[in-house]
């Protein structure tokens, strides 16, 4: 599911990073970050989990505040079209750099892959 999320975010043409992973690197002009919060079991059969709910934070940062607002909503539409469950229109995030602003949303997806 993480791979699917990254692939969908990369389709917008911006770099995608794990939240917290930039270290000493400079921020790109605009970029996505993500973080996997959990992958809890949903249903079980014969004491084995047969489906999971993955919970991701999906964030977008940019020097362009308007793009920050719009891109998050565009990403929401694409993720929803690909099976993600997203409620609301996101929330503001803090940035390490005064040049950038960010917004984020929580994206859930059911994984019926088993084990």
């Amino acid at each position: 599911m993480k791979g699917k999320l990254i692939e969908l975010l990369e389709s917008f043409g911006y770099p995608v990073f794990l939240q917290g992973s930039l270290g000493d690197c400079a921020y790109p002009e605009s970029f996505f970050t993500f973080w996997n919060n959990s992958s809890d079991d949903n249903n079980h059969y014969d004491n084995e989990p047969v489906s999971f709910t993955w919970s991701f934070d999906v964030n977008f940062y940019s020097v362009n505040p308007e793009l920050v607002n719009n891109m998050l909503l565009e990403a929401k539409a694409v993720l929803k079209a690909n099976g993600f469950i997203i409620s609301g229109k996101g929330y503001d995030l803090m940035s390490d750099e005064p040049t950038h602003t960010g917004r984020g949303m929580n994206a859930l997806i059911i994984d019926n892959g088993g084990t």
Partner: protein, 154 residues
């Protein structure tokens, strides 16, 4: 969902948590038939829910659990945690505020809860409010209070 946050997410300011679990309506009706004080039971359940979530948040922002073991922490975020349950009624629906008060120094809770591109989030703080484990604990505690009020458990 038990942790039903109205409006924005908890750390962006205090959020409202209301009662919501399967079977709640039936339990309310039964309490009414038994002539019990449904308002008092509701407030007791919300107070317990607040206690569970707040204790988890408190633990998560202990200096030993913060980035750099709290070296950069001045305690403002911890001080802004809403520790006193304040039950609010809007018609027949009750809620209790949980989370950090941004106007009282809780702004860094946003860094901690969601991280930044250069700093990983404090997962335990996020989980205090949004994990399925917290949700399960809150629901079980609330149901227990209702069942006790109905005299079905001691």
């Amino acid at each position: 969902m038990c942790l039903r946050f109205a409006g924005t997410r908890a750390v962006l300011d205090l959020a409202k948590m209301s009662l919501s679990f399967e079977g709640l309506d039936e339990m309310m009706k039964k309490l009414e038939r038994l002539d019990k004080d449904t308002k008092a039971v509701t407030e007791e359940a919300l107070t317990k829910a607040h206690e569970i979530v707040t204790a988890k948040a408190e633990q998560a922002i202990a200096k030993s659990n913060l980035p750099a073991r709290g070296h950069y922490s001045h305690g403002d975020t911890a001080a802004s945690l809403q520790r006193t349950p304040k039950i609010k009624w809007s018609g027949s629906e009750a809620s209790v505020d949980v989370g950090f008060n941004i106007r009282k120094g809780g702004l860094p809770s946003i860094f901690l809860m969601y991280g930044t591109p250069k700093m990983a989030k404090v997962q335990s703080l996020y989980d205090a409010f949004y994990s399925s484990q917290t949700e399960g604990e809150v629901i079980n505690a609330e149901k227990e209070i209702f069942l006790k009020a109905m005299g079905e458990i001691e």
